[in-house]
Protein backbone atom coordinates (compact mmCIF):
# COMPACT_ATOMS: atom_id res chain seq x y z
CA UNK A 1 0.00 0.00 0.00
CA UNK A 2 1.22 3.49 -0.95
CA UNK A 3 4.36 2.31 -2.63
CA UNK A 4 3.79 4.02 -5.95
CA UNK A 5 3.39 0.71 -7.83
CA UNK A 6 0.88 0.91 -10.68
CA UNK A 7 -2.27 -1.14 -9.99
CA UNK A 8 -3.40 -3.44 -12.80
CA UNK A 9 -6.49 -1.38 -13.72
CA UNK A 10 -4.33 1.63 -14.67
CA UNK A 11 -2.13 2.12 -17.72
CA UNK A 12 0.54 4.12 -15.91
CA UNK A 13 1.33 5.99 -12.70
CA UNK A 14 0.07 9.29 -14.15
CA UNK A 15 -3.38 7.84 -14.87
CA UNK A 16 -3.48 6.27 -11.38
CA UNK A 17 -2.55 9.61 -9.77
CA UNK A 18 -5.23 11.46 -11.77
CA UNK A 19 -7.86 8.91 -10.68
CA UNK A 20 -6.84 9.30 -7.02
CA UNK A 21 -6.93 13.09 -7.28
CA UNK A 22 -10.32 13.05 -9.00
CA UNK A 23 -11.66 10.91 -6.14
CA UNK A 24 -10.27 13.38 -3.62
CA UNK A 25 -11.84 16.37 -5.41
CA UNK A 26 -15.21 14.58 -5.57
CA UNK A 27 -14.91 14.01 -1.79
CA UNK A 28 -14.04 17.71 -1.33
CA UNK A 29 -17.16 18.65 -3.36
CA UNK A 30 -19.27 16.53 -0.96
CA UNK A 31 -17.58 18.26 1.99
CA UNK A 32 -18.40 21.67 0.47
CA UNK A 33 -22.06 20.63 0.33
CA UNK A 34 -21.95 19.26 3.88
CA UNK A 35 -20.63 22.55 5.28
CA UNK A 36 -22.79 24.72 2.99
CA UNK A 37 -25.89 23.29 4.70
CA UNK A 38 -24.55 24.61 8.02
CA UNK A 39 -23.55 27.97 6.48
CA UNK A 40 -27.07 28.19 4.96
CA UNK A 41 -28.56 27.59 8.41
CA UNK A 42 -26.35 30.35 9.84
CA UNK A 43 -27.38 32.76 7.03
CA UNK A 44 -31.09 31.99 7.53
CA UNK A 45 -30.92 32.66 11.28
CA UNK A 46 -28.71 35.72 10.71
CA UNK A 47 -31.49 37.23 8.58
CA UNK A 48 -33.90 36.66 11.48
CA UNK A 49 -31.68 37.56 14.47
CA UNK A 50 -29.04 39.82 12.84
CA UNK A 51 -28.71 42.31 15.72
CA UNK A 52 -28.58 39.63 18.43
CA UNK A 53 -26.05 37.64 16.39
CA UNK A 54 -23.78 40.69 16.26
CA UNK A 55 -24.10 41.16 20.02
CA UNK A 56 -23.45 37.46 20.63
CA UNK A 57 -20.30 37.67 18.47
CA UNK A 58 -18.83 40.14 21.00
CA UNK A 59 -18.86 37.24 23.51
CA UNK A 60 -16.53 35.03 21.45
CA UNK A 61 -12.80 35.53 22.00
CA UNK A 62 -11.54 37.71 19.12
CA UNK A 63 -7.90 37.30 20.14
CA UNK A 64 -7.94 33.50 20.33
CA UNK A 65 -10.09 33.18 17.20
CA UNK A 66 -7.79 35.48 15.21
CA UNK A 67 -4.65 33.73 16.51
CA UNK A 68 -6.16 30.46 15.27
CA UNK A 69 -6.68 31.98 11.81
CA UNK A 70 -2.98 32.90 11.50
CA UNK A 71 -2.00 29.49 12.93
CA UNK A 72 -4.05 27.52 10.39
CA UNK A 73 -2.88 29.66 7.44
CA UNK A 74 0.75 29.04 8.48
CA UNK A 75 0.11 25.30 8.93
CA UNK A 76 -1.19 25.22 5.34
CA UNK A 77 2.07 26.77 4.11
CA UNK A 78 4.07 24.02 5.87
CA UNK A 79 1.92 21.30 4.25
CA UNK A 80 2.34 22.72 0.76
CA UNK A 81 6.11 23.08 1.36
CA UNK A 82 6.27 19.41 2.48
CA UNK A 83 4.56 18.32 -0.71
CA UNK A 84 6.85 20.61 -2.74
CA UNK A 85 9.87 19.14 -0.92
CA UNK A 86 8.76 15.62 -1.91
CA UNK A 87 8.43 16.67 -5.57
CA UNK A 88 11.83 18.34 -5.47
CA UNK A 89 13.41 15.16 -4.05
CA UNK A 90 14.36 16.60 -0.65
CA UNK A 91 15.10 14.14 2.16
CA UNK A 92 12.36 12.34 4.06
CA UNK A 93 13.68 13.97 7.23
CA UNK A 94 12.99 17.49 5.85
CA UNK A 95 9.50 16.47 4.71
CA UNK A 96 8.72 14.96 8.10
CA UNK A 97 9.99 18.08 9.92
CA UNK A 98 7.67 20.29 7.87
CA UNK A 99 4.78 17.93 8.62
CA UNK A 100 5.79 17.95 12.30
CA UNK A 101 5.35 21.73 12.23
CA UNK A 102 1.87 21.30 10.72
CA UNK A 103 0.90 18.78 13.41
CA UNK A 104 2.23 21.11 16.13
CA UNK A 105 0.22 24.06 14.80
CA UNK A 106 -2.87 21.83 14.48
CA UNK A 107 -2.53 20.78 18.13
CA UNK A 108 -2.09 24.44 19.21
CA UNK A 109 -5.25 25.31 17.21
CA UNK A 110 -7.25 22.62 19.05
CA UNK A 111 -5.77 23.68 22.41
CA UNK A 112 -6.84 27.31 21.90
CA UNK A 113 -10.30 26.16 20.78
CA UNK A 114 -10.69 24.10 23.96
CA UNK A 115 -9.53 27.08 26.05
CA UNK A 116 -12.21 29.17 24.35
CA UNK A 117 -14.89 26.56 24.99
CA UNK A 118 -13.86 26.49 28.67
CA UNK A 119 -14.32 30.30 28.90
CA UNK A 120 -17.77 30.01 27.31
CA UNK A 121 -18.79 27.19 29.66
CA UNK A 122 -17.94 29.39 32.65
CA UNK A 123 -20.09 32.23 31.24
CA UNK A 124 -23.06 29.93 30.65
CA UNK A 125 -22.73 30.31 26.87
CA UNK A 126 -23.77 26.76 26.14
CA UNK A 127 -25.76 25.26 23.26
CA UNK A 128 -29.55 24.93 23.19
CA UNK A 129 -31.37 24.29 26.46
CA UNK A 130 -28.12 24.45 28.50
CA UNK A 131 -27.65 28.17 27.72
CA UNK A 132 -27.73 30.13 31.00
CA UNK A 133 -26.03 33.47 30.22
CA UNK A 134 -28.03 36.28 31.85
CA UNK A 135 -26.21 39.14 30.10
CA UNK A 136 -27.56 38.05 26.72
CA UNK A 137 -30.89 36.30 27.38
CA UNK A 138 -32.35 36.69 23.85
CA UNK A 139 -33.39 33.60 21.91
CA UNK A 140 -31.13 34.66 19.03
CA UNK A 141 -28.04 34.40 21.26
CA UNK A 142 -28.98 30.83 22.16
CA UNK A 143 -29.32 30.01 18.44
CA UNK A 144 -25.97 31.73 17.74
CA UNK A 145 -24.10 29.62 20.30
CA UNK A 146 -25.83 26.41 19.21
CA UNK A 147 -24.59 27.08 15.66
CA UNK A 148 -21.18 28.13 17.03
CA UNK A 149 -20.65 24.79 18.80
CA UNK A 150 -22.04 22.77 15.89
CA UNK A 151 -19.92 24.46 13.23
CA UNK A 152 -16.65 24.98 15.13
CA UNK A 153 -17.06 21.52 16.71
CA UNK A 154 -17.44 19.75 13.35
CA UNK A 155 -14.51 21.82 12.07
CA UNK A 156 -12.40 20.76 15.09
CA UNK A 157 -13.22 17.11 14.33
CA UNK A 158 -11.92 17.72 10.78
CA UNK A 159 -8.72 19.27 12.20
CA UNK A 160 -8.27 16.19 14.43
CA UNK A 161 -8.66 13.86 11.44
CA UNK A 162 -6.15 16.05 9.56
CA UNK A 163 -3.62 15.73 12.41
CA UNK A 164 -3.90 11.91 12.31
CA UNK A 165 -3.45 11.98 8.51
CA UNK A 166 -0.36 14.19 8.83
CA UNK A 167 1.13 11.82 11.45
CA UNK A 168 0.64 8.96 8.99
CA UNK A 169 2.31 10.99 6.22
CA UNK A 170 5.18 11.73 8.60
CA UNK A 171 5.75 7.99 9.09
CA UNK A 172 5.66 7.41 5.30
CA UNK A 173 8.10 10.31 4.76
CA UNK A 174 10.53 8.87 7.36
CA UNK A 175 10.36 5.52 5.55
CA UNK A 176 11.35 7.31 2.35
CA UNK A 177 8.10 6.48 0.52
CA UNK A 178 7.87 9.86 -1.21
CA UNK A 179 9.91 10.48 -4.34
CA UNK A 180 9.83 13.15 -7.07
CA UNK A 181 7.78 10.64 -9.14
CA UNK A 182 5.35 9.62 -6.39
CA UNK A 183 3.91 11.65 -3.54
CA UNK A 184 0.15 11.13 -4.09
CA UNK A 185 -0.85 10.32 -0.45
CA UNK A 186 0.95 13.47 0.76
CA UNK A 187 -0.67 15.55 -1.98
CA UNK A 188 -4.18 14.24 -1.16
CA UNK A 189 -3.71 14.74 2.60
CA UNK A 190 -2.58 18.28 1.81
CA UNK A 191 -5.76 18.96 -0.21
CA UNK A 192 -7.78 17.83 2.84
CA UNK A 193 -5.78 20.05 5.24
CA UNK A 194 -6.12 23.12 3.01
CA UNK A 195 -9.85 22.50 2.71
CA UNK A 196 -10.18 22.47 6.51
CA UNK A 197 -8.23 25.75 6.49
CA UNK A 198 -10.70 27.24 3.96
CA UNK A 199 -13.66 26.31 6.19
CA UNK A 200 -12.04 28.22 9.08
CA UNK A 201 -11.46 31.19 6.76
CA UNK A 202 -15.29 31.47 6.55
CA UNK A 203 -16.08 30.53 10.18
CA UNK A 204 -13.75 33.25 11.54
CA UNK A 205 -15.61 36.32 10.14
CA UNK A 206 -19.05 34.86 10.94
CA UNK A 207 -18.38 34.07 14.60
CA UNK A 208 -15.71 36.62 15.53
CA UNK A 209 -15.54 39.61 13.18
CA UNK A 210 -19.18 40.54 12.47
CA UNK A 211 -19.82 42.07 15.89
CA UNK A 212 -21.97 44.90 17.21
Amino acid sequence: MFTGAVQEQFQDLEQQTHAAELGMWAFMASEVLFFSGLFGLFAAYHLEYGDTFRQAATHTDLMLGSANTFILLTSSLLVVLASHAARAGWSGRTISRLLGGTIGLGVVFLGLKLLEYAHHFREGLLPGQFYTNAELPERGARVFFTLYYAMTGIHAVHVSVGIVLMMWMMVLARRGRFTPAYQTPLELSGIYWHFVDIIWVFLWPLFYLLRA
Binding site: M28, A29, A43, S66, V80, P205
Partner: protein
Protein backbone atom coordinates in the same frame (compact mmCIF):
# COMPACT_ATOMS: atom_id res chain seq x y z
CA UNK B 1 4.00 24.02 -10.48
CA UNK B 2 4.78 27.07 -8.34
CA UNK B 3 8.14 27.47 -6.61
CA UNK B 4 8.90 27.71 -2.87
CA UNK B 5 8.97 31.51 -3.22
CA UNK B 6 5.49 31.52 -4.80
CA UNK B 7 4.10 29.53 -1.86
CA UNK B 8 5.67 31.87 0.69
CA UNK B 9 4.36 34.88 -1.27
CA UNK B 10 0.82 33.39 -1.28
CA UNK B 11 1.10 32.81 2.48
CA UNK B 12 2.17 36.45 2.96
CA UNK B 13 -0.88 37.58 0.96
CA UNK B 14 -3.13 35.35 3.08
CA UNK B 15 -1.70 36.82 6.30
CA UNK B 16 -2.12 40.37 4.94
CA UNK B 17 -5.74 39.69 3.93
CA UNK B 18 -6.49 38.16 7.36
CA UNK B 19 -4.94 41.22 9.05
CA UNK B 20 -6.98 43.56 6.82
CA UNK B 21 -10.16 41.63 7.71
CA UNK B 22 -9.30 41.85 11.43
CA UNK B 23 -8.63 45.61 11.27
CA UNK B 24 -11.80 46.26 9.24
CA UNK B 25 -13.84 44.57 11.97
CA UNK B 26 -13.04 47.55 14.22
CA UNK B 27 -14.39 50.06 11.66
CA UNK B 28 -18.15 50.71 11.69
CA UNK B 29 -19.27 50.12 8.12
CA UNK B 30 -22.83 48.90 8.68
CA UNK B 31 -24.01 46.40 6.06
CA UNK B 32 -20.73 46.79 4.17
CA UNK B 33 -18.84 45.06 6.98
CA UNK B 34 -20.50 41.70 6.16
CA UNK B 35 -19.95 42.10 2.41
CA UNK B 36 -16.29 43.10 2.88
CA UNK B 37 -15.51 40.35 5.41
CA UNK B 38 -17.03 37.71 3.11
CA UNK B 39 -15.31 39.14 0.01
CA UNK B 40 -11.93 38.90 1.79
CA UNK B 41 -12.77 35.33 2.91
CA UNK B 42 -13.60 34.38 -0.70
CA UNK B 43 -10.31 35.94 -1.92
CA UNK B 44 -8.39 33.91 0.70
CA UNK B 45 -10.26 30.71 -0.22
CA UNK B 46 -9.48 31.22 -3.94
CA UNK B 47 -5.77 31.76 -3.16
CA UNK B 48 -5.62 28.61 -1.00
CA UNK B 49 -7.50 26.51 -3.58
CA UNK B 50 -5.56 27.72 -6.63
CA UNK B 51 -2.03 27.77 -5.20
CA UNK B 52 -1.91 25.53 -2.10
CA UNK B 53 -4.39 22.91 -3.34
CA UNK B 54 -2.88 23.12 -6.87
CA UNK B 55 -6.38 23.51 -8.32
CA UNK B 56 -4.94 25.66 -11.11
CA UNK B 57 -2.73 22.70 -12.18
CA UNK B 58 -5.35 19.94 -11.86
CA UNK B 59 -6.74 18.14 -14.91
CA UNK B 60 -9.99 19.78 -16.03
CA UNK B 61 -12.08 16.77 -14.90
CA UNK B 62 -10.99 17.37 -11.26
CA UNK B 63 -11.68 21.10 -11.56
CA UNK B 64 -15.16 20.32 -12.94
CA UNK B 65 -15.87 17.82 -10.13
CA UNK B 66 -14.99 20.39 -7.46
CA UNK B 67 -16.63 23.28 -9.36
CA UNK B 68 -19.86 21.30 -9.58
CA UNK B 69 -19.87 20.95 -5.78
CA UNK B 70 -19.35 24.71 -5.39
CA UNK B 71 -22.15 25.42 -7.91
CA UNK B 72 -24.57 23.15 -6.02
CA UNK B 73 -23.57 24.77 -2.71
CA UNK B 74 -24.26 28.24 -4.18
CA UNK B 75 -27.63 27.02 -5.50
CA UNK B 76 -28.46 25.72 -2.00
CA UNK B 77 -27.49 29.03 -0.36
CA UNK B 78 -29.48 31.07 -2.93
CA UNK B 79 -32.57 28.90 -2.47
CA UNK B 80 -32.33 29.19 1.34
CA UNK B 81 -32.02 32.99 1.02
CA UNK B 82 -35.02 33.19 -1.37
CA UNK B 83 -37.08 31.04 1.00
CA UNK B 84 -36.24 33.02 4.14
CA UNK B 85 -36.57 36.47 2.53
CA UNK B 86 -39.95 35.79 0.90
CA UNK B 87 -41.47 33.85 3.79
CA UNK B 88 -44.31 35.34 5.83
CA UNK B 89 -43.22 36.27 9.34
CA UNK B 90 -43.66 33.32 11.66
CA UNK B 91 -46.60 33.96 13.97
CA UNK B 92 -45.93 33.30 17.66
CA UNK B 93 -47.08 29.93 18.94
CA UNK B 94 -50.61 30.22 20.43
CA UNK B 95 -50.81 29.72 24.20
CA UNK B 96 -51.86 26.29 25.39
CA UNK B 97 -55.64 26.13 25.85
CA UNK B 98 -57.33 24.60 28.85
CA UNK B 99 -58.39 21.53 26.82
CA UNK B 100 -54.75 20.68 26.16
CA UNK B 101 -54.18 19.88 29.84
CA UNK B 102 -55.55 16.55 31.14
CA UNK B 103 -58.83 16.84 33.01
CA UNK B 104 -58.36 15.92 36.67
CA UNK B 105 -60.33 12.88 37.71
CA UNK B 106 -62.79 13.60 40.48
CA UNK B 107 -61.88 11.81 43.71
CA UNK B 108 -64.08 9.02 44.89
CA UNK B 109 -64.93 7.67 41.44
Amino acid sequence: MPTTGAFVKTWAWLMALALASLLLSFVRLGAWSTALALAIAVAKAVLIARVFMHLAHQPSISRWAFGFGIALALLLLIMIAVDVITRDPVSPRPPLTQSATPTPVAPGL
